[in-house]
């Protein structure tokens, strides 16, 4: 049931409760009159369920859309995320370490073997290590977003 409808129902019942109160009814009398809240809610829902069991064309389309989306998610989205997430984790660990090595190498002119290969092709300078930290932060962020996303 949509939120707007729920709000409307509660507002209507509340309106009656206040009206009863205004007529001099006690709180116990009002709650007794309205009965068990669960029963009242069930009465609303029961009406809704018995109304929507017709298998019309629209309903078929809704079911088709649901299973279409579910199978798309199973075939593509989940495998892509399953492969993508570990790669992002690896990047998140590797980039700061490599960035730090590059930074030390560049600052102290140590000439660590292969350290000169760390970098993005075309850009070779001291500040590249800063760039690595940005990459790290962004990839960590993406990984976190994926974790949050998969929780839903």
């Amino acid at each position: 049931m949509p939120v707007s409808e729920r709000v409307d129902i509660v507002k209507e019942i509340k309106s009656e409760m206040l009206e009863l109160q205004d007529n001099g009814k006690k709180a116990e009398e009002i709650s007794e009159r309205l009965g068990n809240p669960k029963e009242l809610a069930k009465a609303y829902l029961g009406d809704l369920i018995s109304n929507s069991n017709s298998l019309g064309w629209n309903r078929v389309l809704v079911i088709y859309a649901y299973y279409g989306l579910a199978s798309f998610s199973g075939l593509f989205v989940i495998p892509v995320l399953a492969i993508g997430s570990p790669v992002f984790i690896l990047c998140a660990v590797a980039t700061p370490i490599l960035g730090f090595v590059k930074l030390i190498d560049a600052l102290l002119n140590l000439g660590i073997p292969y350290a000169s290969y760390i970098g993005i092709s075309g850009i070779q300078n001291l500040f590249i290590s800063l760039h690595y930290y940005w990459c790290c932060i962004i990839s960590c962020g993406i990984w976190l977003l994926e974790v949050i996303g998969s929780l839903y």
Binding site: D8, I9, K11, E12, I13, K14, S15, E16, L18, E19, L20, D22, R33, L34, G35, E39, L40, A43, Y44, G46, D47, N51
Partner: protein, 110 residues
């Protein structure tokens, strides 16, 4: 003799008709409808029956609703009024109701 069972079945069938007739007479709100029905023991129904029923009639567009401010100190009320579709429905129901009454009186042999 289980008359209550029979009465509740009668009520289930006629409550919709009665509520529509009341709303046709004049624009009304939930509590007022329930209070009026309470005057007639055969029709008396609880909130848990009337409100879902009103909601269904609203969905089927036999009635329409609007929130209106009421007198001082009271919260706004949700007023229901009849639609053209509702009027048509009432007239069909009235015909069927008359058919039923005629049939009963004929069977009784009056």
């Amino acid at each position: 003799m289980n008359i209550d069972d029979w009465k509740s079945q009668i009520k289930r069938g006629t409550l919709e008709f009665c509520i529509l007739l009341m709303i046709k007479q004049r624009t009304s709100y939930g509590y007022e409808i329930i209070s009026t029905l309470e005057e007639y023991p055969i029709l008396a129904a609880k909130e848990s029956t009337i409100y879902p029923l009103l909601r269904r009639l609203l969905k089927e567009e036999y009635i329409s609703s609007s929130w209106k401010e009421s007198s001082e100190g009271l919260p706004p009320r949700k007023y229901y009024s009849i639609t053209d579709k509702g009027l048509e429905y009432i007239s069909t129901m009235s015909d069927e109701w008359n058919n039923l009454l005629n049939a009963i009186s004929k069977i009784k042999g009056e």
